[in-house]
């Protein structure tokens, strides 16, 4: 039985990067990509790095605090989208800087799904990287 609400990124096909604190998530298997509101980006970062979801309830996010229902809704969305899976593991501590960044946000928790670039994301012919990253690279004979 799980005693905490700890999650992890569901597979190596789910990759993410942050730009100015805003997270972008790609699903390399489906080609979908995901954008977050400012608060959503911070909560995604916390959850995907193993912070206990319960520990996020009541935190200050802009002018309000993170409510249990709001968080639960957000987490179930991330689970349904296949971005996170439940993990039976000890929770990771919440970094102080994330707390401060969350306090400075102004938008509610949201995640947007896009699939217009699926063809390109599933296989990018030019901007390939090495295979360990999980990007289906087009290799050439050396």
């Amino acid at each position: 039985m799980r005693h905490t609400d700890v999650y992890a990124i569901s597979s190596k096909d789910i990759v993410f990067e942050s730009f100015d604190g805003e997270a972008v998530v790609l699903d390399l298997s489906s080609g979908k990509y995901f954008g977050f509101s400012d608060s959503g980006s911070r909560i995604w970062q916390a959850l995907s790095s193993g912070v206990d979801a319960q520990a996020l309830i009541g935190l200050t996010a802009g002018a309000s605090t993170i409510g249990p229902a709001e968080l639960e809704g957000f987490v179930s969305q991330l689970l349904e989208l296949g971005l996170l899976v439940g993990l039976d593991a000890p929770p990771q501590p919440l970094p102080d800087e994330l707390l401060a960044e969350l306090a400075a946000t102004s938008e509610p928790l949201t995640v947007n799904v896009h699939d217009d670039l699926a063809d390109l994301i599933v296989v990018d012919p030019i901007h390939e990287v090495e295979e360990p990253v999980g990007w289906p690279a087009v290799k050439q004979a050396s």
Binding site: E22, D116, L117, L120, V122, D124, P125, I126, Q140, A141
Partner: protein, 244 residues
């Protein structure tokens, strides 16, 4: 054409353009981005025979700034713009084919054609070698496009936040806007696959590609009139495909 240490390929790239002089009144702008090999001499050797090549030199600043430097050199009378990297080949007939689209529709903003990835190009014919391996897709590449000057001006320069994937960002910006395009079946580019391809050098491209997607989402969030970039790129065939 941005050039950085491509003495081995740049002459072929230029020849592939110059041989199409009859199809268009070409003004070939070469930006040497601080090459330390014989690239500049190679370009100059071509210029002796072909006055339509103009060479500009700058210290090494990366491909994004080199592309912007090239755009700044566009002549006032230039109506259409395309790009060619210094190690690639513009297939014979590429301009004839797509310029016809602009003739048919004066309101056209761009043509966006296909590209062939190939591992061996015959140095004489500038065609894929008989024993080469290749695949043709509608990928994401500046050379696939011919852009109306108005569109170039509307789009602005390449975003210098990008070390790479500046081309992806540029094309996304164009297709998000209400640009009027057609997608001919022309093969607009032979994209040379070799160990020194710029985009293979580091892990940077992946993050840069993600940055392009991030910026695209941000733009569309801020401006709902921008549209998703649907149905343009078609690279599915690459999924199951490997160069032997």
């Amino acid at each position: 054409m941005p050039v950085y240490n491509r003495e081995r390929y740049v002459v072929s790239a230029l020849r592939s353009l110059v041989r199409q002089r009859d199809a268009a009144d070409l003004d070939i702008i070469v930006i040497d981005d601080g090459s330390t090999d014989g690239s500049v001499e190679a370009v100059r050797s071509m210029m002796r025979e072909t006055p339509c090549i103009r060479l500009f030199r700058q210290s090494n600043m990366g491909v994004t700034k080199a592309r912007n430097a090239g755009l700044k050199q566009l002549l006032p009378q230039t109506r259409l713009v395309s790009f060619l990297d210094s190690d690639d080949i513009s297939p014979m007939g590429r301009f004839t084919a797509d310029l016809a689209c602009f003739e048919e529709d004066p309101g056209l903003d761009l043509t966006y054609s296909r590209m062939t990835l190939v591992d061996k190009i015959d140095g004489e014919t500038l065609e894929p070698a008989a024993d080469s391996h290749s695949i043709t897709v509608r990928g994401i590449h500046l050379s696939a496009g011919i852009f109306a000057r108005d569109l170039i001006e509307r789009t602005g320069g390449f975003d210098e936040d990008f070390k790479q994937a500046e081309d992806t960002d540029y094309l996304l910006r164009i297709f998000e806007s209400q640009a009027k395009y057609v997608m001919p079946d022309t093969v607009a580019l032979y994209y040379r696959r070799h160990p020194g391809n710029m985009t293979k050098e580091a892990d940077v491209p992946f993050r840069e590609f993600m940055r392009a997607i991030h910026k695209s989402m941000k733009r569309r969030r801020a401006d709902p009139s921008l549209r998703p970039v649907e149905g343009i790129f078609d690279v599915k065939d690459l999924a199951q495909w490997r160069f032997p």
